[in-house]
Structures are given as C-alpha cells and as structure tokens.
C-alpha cells in the first residue's frame, strides 16, 4: 500500500461533511479517500466543499508567495482550510503557508508522532482536536504560544475553548471551532405527538415514554454508545465529565462516580425501553431514522445540521434547535462535541510566524469570514462572530426560517470547562470494543463504564501516571 497522501494530497479533502469533529464515521470516509488515493492518480475530492473547490489547488500555496517569504508547513484536513490559507498568504506577503493534508484526526496524529520521534518531517503548525492537545503537550512537543503574544486573543475566544488549550499562563494551541450541543428536534412530529420541548432530562424521559407509547416504532432520539466523543459530550453536559487533569503526572478518571452512574442508568433505562435507538452516529440507519420519524430528535453538535440536511429528504424544514435538557431545572449547562485547534510544533524554525498564523487563523474576522462560509461550515469559537447578529440570524433550509445558530451560540457560551487527559488516543482506540456490547444488548452502559474505568486506569498506570478516581 503506498498511501502517499501526506506529500501531494494537500488539496484532498479526506471526508464529506464539516471539520474533523467526529472520529468513527470519519475513519471510514478517510479510508475510502485513502484507498481512492492509493489506486488512482487523479485527486479525489468529496463532500459538500468539493463543489465549489475552484481553488482546490491553491492549497499548495506556492503560487501567490513572494520568493523571500518565510515558509511554513501546516498540516490540516478540514474542508475549506485551503481557502483560509490562501487568504492568509494573500494578506501576509512575508509568510508563505503551505497546507498539507496528512490525513484526518488519528491518521494525522500518528504521522505527527512518528515525525516527532524521527526528529524530521514535522510541520510548523498542526491541526489538533481539543482532546488531543494534552497528548502532545505532555511529550513537550508543543510551543507555548503565550511567548508570542497569542494570549491577547483570549477575550475573543469562548472561555471553554480557551481553558482546554491552556495550563496556567501557558497556551498550547489556538482554538478554532467548536461543536456545542443542542436538542435538535422535529417540530412537526413533536406537535403531532403532543410533546412540549423538554427542558430537563426528566421531562425528556417522560416525552420519550409518551412518544413510544403512541407509536411503538418511534424513539425520541439516538444514543450511540460506541461514539466516544458523543458520549463524553453528553456526560459533560450532564455534569458527569469523567476526566480531570491539570498537567503533570496525575490524571483523574471517573466513570463510576455518582453523577456518571446516574448518567449511565438514565440512558440504559431509555435503551431498555427502546425509547432511544442505538444506531452508529452518521450511519445510513441514523439518517433514515431521523427522516422516517423513528427518531424525533437529535442531540446535535452545532456543526451537525449542515451535514444532516444533505442526508435527509422528507423532513427538511421541520427541524428546530432548543437548549439541551438539564440534569436539574434552572441549570444552563452545555456540552461540546468536536472542534479543532492549531498548535505550533516544537522544532519549528519559524515559531514566531507560525504563532502569528495560528492566532490569525482562529482569532480574526478575516479568517472567520471563510471558516464560517459554505465550504468550511465551521462553528465559531470566536466570540465576536458568535455574538454577531448576522451569524445568529443565519438560517439553513433544514430549519426553514428558524434561527438555530442563536441556540448553538448560547450553548457555546455555557460550556462547562473541561480538561482532557493526555491519554485520549488510547481511550478512543479502546472505547469502541468495550462499549460494543451495549449496542448489541449483551451488557449495560453502567457495566461498560465499570469495565472502561479499569481498562483506562490500567493503561494510565502502565504509562506512569498516578490515577485518581474520585
């Protein structure tokens, strides 16, 4: 297998849909892209971005650059990043950023790790998802951006995004986009079934009972136990985020505490009553369920509706966003699924310019004009845009004239602050096998949590960490 998509494939978009915010579905798409790349010499473009990819080759960046410009290599995979890079090169003639697609999510992290181990071939700037930042931080492979004044962007970035990339005064990556969750429901089906929009998880369960009692084929939503990031986002929103970490060699892993057990029992209860389905996220089954009334709602990240409206037909225009139900009435807690950052990699010969590029990429109106556009479709962690009426008034056909962005933007401001542990690569790899039994019905979610608690703790200990489980 010669999959040389690192070198020449800068313009290739590895997967359909916006941004690198989901792992499981993406691996499949990435593999398809890789396989296509390996067997044909023609560049393969896929997804909504491809249609407008008039400047697909602009990613090489070499073109509009002055001869004496400082060269920077940038590894990224999300749709539309090539357009943002092009804009940067145009407006910053002294720097020449060259975008390379080293694969999406895990594929890129593996390559980056290997390049860092080899001491050669690592880029100046790399796209990292939030959860992956500490994994590179603990091996001292990221440049502290605060020394280049990037911390001046702090006021412009949603606090929950900022807290995930900083330790004290140190800043290890520049946040770009986010994926706050909202209850995205089929308004026609809700009113036909006589449901009011639930504001607490108790009300949500009652609504699920009522819906399922009226129609045995209807489930209120889908819960994919194998989708690590989805489950973790819901746990965060429930006030049951299982990880604590504040740098150093001690890591908190807690899947068996009171809040976590309550969360697991809650969803297992709905699964047992068949009031939620357990289809794989982004699978054809999930889309079919959403379109046929088998699912009346989706607990959707902010970047979800864009992809969803390409995957459903009959119910376009019926979907509305509401704030997530709360564990306790009166709370306003949000969860986040996905989003990326830009980190400057240790060893970069032009760390200053790289930091300047990263700050501009995630924290400038110029960059966000393109990032939030139709090709990239990223949801901003950039507060001036989050708060702007233009952005909040944007509508999508799937929601007719309803302004979903306002709901998602509010959620972005109410994210509980989380700290990812530096062992997320392993957690993501090991999660699926452990939780597959919940989908199959051979184990319960609380049991899977127990197993995973031990599994991940053992791994962390084997890696030399002190594990606290409170």
């Amino acid at each position: 297998m010669r999959t040389s998509h690192g070198a020449g494939g800068s313009a290739r978009r590895a997967f359909p849909g916006p941004g690198g915010r989901r792992l499981v579905g993406l691996t499949a798409a990435a593999l398809v892209a890789v396989s296509a790349a390996a067997c044909s010499s023609s560049p393969s473009t896929a997804g909504p971005g491809a249609a407008s990819g008039g400047s697909a080759s602009g990613a090489a960046g070499g073109s509009g650059c002055a001869a004496n410009a400082t060269p920077l290599t940038f590894w990224g995979w999300s749709a539309g990043y090539d357009l943002v890079v092009k804009e940067f090169n145009k407006t910053h003639p002294d720097v020449c950023v060259k975008l390379q697609n080293a694969g999406a999510t895990t594929a890129e992290y593996v390559k980056l790790n290997d390049a860092l181990k080899a001491g050669d071939g690592a880029p100046d700037v790399a796209q990292l998802e939030y959860f992956e930042v500490p994994s590179f931080e603990i091996t001292h492979n990221l440049v502290d951006l605060s020394q280049y004044g990037v911390a001046s962007s702090r006021a412009d970035i949603a606090p929950a995004a900022w807290s995930q990339v900083s330790q004290g005064s140190a800043l290890y990556a520049m946040p770009v986009d986010l994926g706050p969750l909202a209850l995205y429901y089929n308004s026609k089906q809700f009113s036909a079934a006589g449901l009011t929009v639930p504001t607490t998880w108790d009300q949500f369960a009652t609504a699920a009972d009522k819906l399922h009692a009226a129609d045995a084929n209807a489930a209120i939503t889908n819960f994919d136990p194998e989708s690590t990031q989805d489950v973790l986002a819901l746990m965060q929103q429930y006030g049951a985020f299982p990880f604590t970490y504040s740098g150093g060699t001690s890591v908190g892993i807690n899947f068996t505490g009171a809040a976590q057990t309550a969360f697991a029992n809650y969803w297992q209860g709905l699964i047992d009553k068949k009031e939620v389905t357990t289809a794989s996220d982004f699978s054809p089954a999930q889309w079919a369920n959403l379109d046929s009334g088998a699912n009346a709602a989706r607990l959707s990240p902010a970047w979800g509706p864009v992809g969803m409206q390409l995957s459903i037909k009959k119910t376009i225009g019926d979907w509305r966003a509401a704030p997530m139900p709360q564990a306790q009435a009166g709370q306003n807690l949000a969860g986040n699924w996905g989003g990326s950052t830009l980190a400057v990699v240790k060893g970069s010969k032009h760390a200053k310019q790289a930091a300047e590029f990263a700050q501009w990429f995630g924290g400038s109106a110029d960059a966000w004009k393109i990032l939030s556009g139709p090709v990239a479709g990223a949801f901003p962690g950039y507060v001036p845009l989050l708060n702007s009426p233009d952005f909040q008034n944007t509508t999508l056909p799937i929601s007719s004239d309803a302004k979903s962005n306002a709901v998602f933007a509010d959620a972005a401001q109410h994210l509980t602050q989380t700290q990812w542990p530096p062992i997320m690569t392993a957690a993501l790899t090991q999660w699926t096998s452990t939780f597959a039994g919940v989908t199959k019905g051979t184990e319960t979610l609380p049991q899977a949590f127990q197993t995973f608690q031990k599994q991940l703790s053992d791994y962390a200990k084997a890696q030399g960490f002190t594990v606290t489980a409170s």
């Binding site: 297998m1 499981v24 691996t27 499949a28 990435a30 593999l31 398809v32 890789v34 396989s35 390996a38 067997c39 895990t106 593996v110 790790n113 603990i138 091996t139 194998e226 060699t249 794989s280 054809p284 089954a285 079919a288 530096p422 062992i423 690569t425 392993a426 993501l428 790899t429 090991q430 699926t432 096998s433 597959a436 989908t439 199959k440 791994y459 084997a462 890696q463 030399g464 960490f465």
Partner: protein, 341 residues
C-alpha cells in the same frame, strides 16, 4: 516492484560467461517439456562438480535483488522489532529496558489469544473452501468443457486485481444491514433482517469477502499446474473409457497435489495475517470488529492506536513465531511428499 526493475540489471552481467547457464539446461529441458514426456521438475539435473563454481555466481546475482529487499524490509525490521520489544516506553518516565515484560503481557492477553484462535478458525474454514472452489473451476476450464473459457478465466481473476482495501469498502456497502442490496434481497425473500456485521455473522462475512478475492488467484495457479500435466496421460485414460470425473479426481488431483499443498500453506499464512478486511469493516461497523479481532489488528491497535509501540512489537514477534511454526509444519509436509530433495 523493485524486484522486477532490478531484474534486467541482474541479467546483463551474465550475458558474457552465461551461455553455459542459459543454453545448457534450457536446451536439455526444452524438448522434454514440449514433448510432454515428464513434468519439468524431473528434468533438472544436478550440476557436476567441475562446473558448479562457475554456475554459482550467476545464481547469486539472480538471488541478490531479492535478498537485498528481504534484508531491508524483512530481516532488519524484524530485528528492530525484537530489539524494540525488550523496552518499555512510558508517557511519564521515558524509555527503559524491561526484558521480557512485554512478552508476558502479550502472552497473558485474552484479546491477543482470542484473535489468534479467531484467525485459526477463519483459516480452517476459508482455506479449504477457497482451494476447493478454485480447483473445481480450474478443472472445468482445463477440461475444456465450457465455452469462452479464456473469457471466464479472466473474469474469475478480476477480483484479485482489485486491491483488498477497495474490495472491503465495496463489500461493506453491499452488505450494509438494512440498506445494502443483499440485505434488502434477503428480506424480500423472507429471511427477515439479516445483519452481516453482527457478532455471529461477521466472521462468515469476512470468509465470503476473502474467498471472493482469492479464489481467482488460486484458480489461476491450479489451472497452470493442471495444464502442465502431459496430455498423453489423460488421453490414455480417455481411450480406456474413464469418465471425466474420474480423470479429474483420480488422476489430475493427485498430480497437482504439490501445488495444492503449497497453496494451502500460502493461504494459511495469509489468513493468519488477516488485517485489511476487518480493519476496513471496523471503520464502517465499529461494533463488529473489536480491538484485537485478529492478531495483526491487535498489533496495530496497541502500537498505533494506543501508542504502546513496544508492546505492539512484542505481539508482532509472537505472531511471527506462530506463523513460523505453521511454515515449519508445511515445510515438513512438503518434504515428506518428496519436494526439496
């Protein structure tokens, strides 16, 4: 790739002193083969002592490209894996010599052994099935009882020309539960909802995909082997009034037995290294294929997925030893059958 490109270069130097090599045996062999009095491997005579030295160095030239590749991509990496497997590298605390600790972890890992038993079960089902189907079609084509034999031989070979990754992606869509055409067809035929990726059916599904991919390859080798059987042997049987079935099963099958033994061995090793198909399927159906579904997936997921490169290296070495044992077994069988004299 590089073996092929290296070939012409290796041939050229032998052109000078080479006549003895290139014409000698070939001239002796040629008529024997074309008259078809005996299978080719009986004609090769051992070189006499006096000439052996002059014959040795061109042989070395021919073997060299392969040895270079073998050294660079097999022996050196294997040595590196063995070396690597004796260390443990932690996120906190760095890299340290740890002796056989990684081997103890692998040998006591249920995931790893589950995977080994799974591929052995897979091999026991897939290998005989593939070779039986391949032999059936090879014999049919060899007997010349179907029209357009050449065309169908090509058609049968096409799946092998499709890269494993592409084949796995294609089958993933074809067999998609609820939405794939096969799933729909079975439903309309009254079989209900068949989930090819459920924990019960996932292994048979992979058997199906692998048989589809490899039957044509096996068939082609068996066909070539059948074609090398001298025609007068079968003609004699036909004159004696033996039915086609007897000719194929009683005469041809025993004569291609060395080929079948070789194919069993090649397919067994391939089955033990099963990776592409389940890893692609796991992207489509994450619940179907676990972390250590096959030993190679275990190696990949520990090394790349969890960053435990040393543990992955140890697992790879253990797997290599298991495959080495299977190879030794196959070698012993072939030796008993009179090969490698």
């Amino acid at each position: 790739m590089s073996e092929q490109s290296g070939f012409p270069a290796a041939v050229r130097p032998s052109a000078g002193p080479g006549p003895a090599v290139s014409t000698g045996p070939a001239a002796a062999k040629g008529p024997a083969v074309s008259k078809g009095q005996a299978p080719p491997h009986h004609t090769g005579r051992r070189p006499r002592r006096g000439r052996s030295r002059s014959r040795q160095w061109p042989g070395a030239v021919f073997v060299a490209p392969h040895l270079v590749i073998l050294t660079l991509f097999m022996i050196v990496p294997t040595g590196y894996a063995v070396y690597d497997s004796l260390f443990t590298s932690k996120l906190v605390g760095g890299t340290r010599f740890s002796g056989l600790a990684n081997y103890r972890t692998v040998l006591s890992s249920h995931e790893f052994w589950d995977g080994v038993w799974r591929v052995l079960l897979f091999a026991v089902v897939q290998v005989p099935l593939t070779i039986a189907i391949a032999f059936f079609f090879a014999a049919v084509f060899d007997a010349g009882v179907v029209r357009f034999g050449r065309f169908f031989r090509t058609v049968f070979f096409i799946p092998f020309a499709v890269p494993g990754v592409v084949a796995a992606v294609m089958w993933s869509f074809l067999l998609l539960p609820g939405f794939g055409p096969y799933s729909k067809a079975l439903k309309s035929l009254g079989f209900g909802h068949v989930d090819f990726f459920s924990s019960k059916l996932i292994l048979p599904t992979i058997v199906l995909i692998v048989i589809w991919e490899w039957t044509g390859y096996n068939m082609t080798i068996l066909y070539a082997s059948l074609k090398s059987i001298p025609r007068d042997v079968t003609e004699a049987a036909v004159i004696d009034g033996a039915p086609l079935r007897t000719i194929i099963m009683r005469m041809k099958l025993p004569m291609v037995r060395p080929t079948i033994v070789m194919l069993v061995f090649i397919n067994m090793v391939g089955a033990l290294q099963l990776f592409t198909e389940p890893s692609i399927l796991s992207a489509f159906q994450p619940q179907a294929v676990s972390y250590g579904f096959t030993p190679t997936l275990y190696v990949y997921n520990t090394a790349v997925g969890s960053g435990e490169y040393n543990l992955g290296a140890a697992a790879a070495v253990v797997l290599a030893l298991i495959i080495g044992l299977v190879s030794l077994g196959a070698f012993a069988v072939r030796r008993r059958n009179g090969e490698f004299r």
